[in-house]
């Protein structure tokens, strides 16, 4: 990767903080460096909530960057995350997106691992190399931390502890997205491929919401008061009051927009965790959007929806019909975002910079004070990205 040294930068960054080179969405050469410095670097990535694998033996496959991994619920109740590869010759062990196994067997030479990742069987091992020791061949385990039942991984030993990494202004609202105490039940997924670079997917802002989303206007749905909290390491947390009108004339069945609420569920929360994860709680929808970039082009998004263990049947049914119809790749509210992702991608195959305006008081200063409907809340994220990638700002 000699070409990514500072002597020969892939990209020079504009001087002004509100300008982002459009090439950053289009240059395929950035991807190996992004893998190294971001996806395999000092960042935490959410992989699974306990509610998705509630029983011993339950597993879920995922990817970190280009690396296949899986989370499994051990016999001892501990959730671990392993590289999805046999420690012998590298064959992948998990081939389904989810399931339940008593043990993990590689079909190639029948190496057998227990759910805790220990190698417990390997045929004809007396003929192995002199230094072979079973204990050295357990599955490769990733560093894991948990918050409200959500398990995060990082490839680096240097990544700060999870709560420090997220910061209180991020993890406090996140706890409310996760039902307050993390006692969630999985109610299903919506999975989709979006036709854009991963950075376009997570560059959604506070400015667009009332403008793009015609649904808001048509439903006479006024945005309440709200705040955006941004952190130096690129996390962004929106919180706003919900103001849903009593009478929704545009729809025959307004109950789809009912906000029943619970103790921990007051407003509307949208959070974007660097690099690619979105969490949201709109009305009664509890949603984690796991995202998996497929190289420099295309991002696969898994919207996971949850109910709470304390919900009665009526509340669960309400969460199901609301989540199924309002969010995701077909949702009344969020489908428009999906449309913009691919249009951003097409439009950015043009020269120059994308220039942020709303909320920018001084182009030469990075501000962390952001109002609800500003787009400047994305700029600390871009600054974090720039630093991770080692791009120098131009002098003029």
């Amino acid at each position: 990767m000699a070409h990514t040294t500072s002597q020969d930068p892939l990209l020079t960054w504009p001087k002004k903080y509100n300008e982002i080179p459009k090439a950053v969405f289009e240059m395929e050469e950035l991807w190996p460096k992004e893998l190294e410095t971001i996806f395999y670097g000092e960042e935490w990535h959410p992989i699974v909530h306990r509610a998705e694998i509630p029983n011993p033996g339950d597993y879920k496959a995922a990817e970190l960057g280009e690396m296949p991994i899986f989370a499994v619920h051990g016999e001892d109740g501990v959730i671990r995350v392993f590289q999805n590869t046999c420690t012998h010759r590298g064959t992948s062990l998990i081939t389904e997106s989810s399931g339940n196994k008593k043990e993990l067997e590689c079909p190639y030479h029948r190496w057998l691992f227990n759910l805790q990742g220990d190698l417990v069987g390997c045929p004809n091992s007396r003929d192995y190399s002199p230094s072979f020791d079973k204990k050295d061949f357990g599955l490769a385990k990733l560093r894991v931390e948990e918050f409200c039942g959500l398990f995060f991984v990082t490839m680096s030993d240097k990544t700060p502890p999870l709560k420090e990494y997220l910061g209180e202004s991020f993890y406090e609202p996140l706890s409310r997205v996760l039902g307050g105490d993390g006692r969630l039940k999985l109610i299903g997924y919506q999975k989709v491929m979006y036709d854009c670079n991963w950075k376009a997917y997570c560059d959604n802002d506070g400015y667009h919401a009332p403008l793009l989303h015609k649904a808001f206007a048509l439903l006479n749905w006024q945005g309440g008061k709200g705040v955006q909290n941004v952190s130096e390491n690129g996390h962004l947390s929106f919180e706003s009051e919900l103001k849903i009108p009593d009478d929704i004339t545009a729809l025959e069945d307004g109950s789809i927009l009912d906000f029943k609420g619970t103790e921990t569920s007051t407003g509307s929360i949208v959070q974007m965790q660097f690099p690619v994860t979105v969490y949201s709680k709109h009305m009664d929808m509890l949603n984690i959007r796991y995202a998996f970039p497929k190289g420099p082009k295309g991002i696969e998004v898994h919207y996971a929806y949850f109910s709470h263990e304390d919900d009665d049947e009526e509340m669960v049914a309400h969460r199901i019909r609301q989540s199924s119809n309002l969010l995701g790749p077909c949702g009344l509210i969020s489908m428009e975002d999906a449309s913009v992702f691919s249009r951003i991608d097409k439009g950015n195959k043009t020269p120059g910079n994308a220039i942020f305006q709303k909320g920018v008081e001084d182009e030469h200063v990075l501000s962390f004070t952001v109002k609800q409907n500003d787009e400047s809340g994305n700029l600390p994220r871009w600054e974090h990205y720039r630093k991770r990638m080692g791009f120098e700002r131009s002098e003029s």
């Binding site: 545009a250 729809l251 199901i320 009344l332």
Partner: protein
Amino acid sequence: MSTVSSEIISQIEQLNREYISALDSLDMTAWLNCFNKKGQYNFISEENHRRNLPIAFMLDDCYKRLQDRVTQVVDIQADSTEHYQTRHFTQLMSVEALDNGQYQAEFNYSIYYTRRDSNQTQILCVGRYMDVIEIAENAVNFIKRKAVTDTNVLPRYIAYPV
């Protein structure tokens, strides 16, 4: 299908043709007319269906929701969607008689879409329709059409029912 007459099968196939023709011409009123007042529509991944996870891509569990689906396509999202042309291909796999003039049917489907910007054609999704159809004196309608898609990861956002 031995217990169901060829006339009934023909009526069910005709209803299905009206349904896919409505969608391929994006005539949402004609789509709505394929359902009666008991009508429900559900578009769900095979993964969720198999695992008894109820989240769907579209979940219209009453006639008013079907009407709102029409509103969503025609009024709400019309200007932000990148329009695409669909072509639905279906094959009737089974029909069984239930009580009260109702029939349970299953069709396989594959849906192609052609983007207006690139004019290239790709597969939108593949799966099966699990239907309950009511045949009354003057009407043949879906009471339930559940589109279970094998395409667990959709290749793009989907703006119209399938």
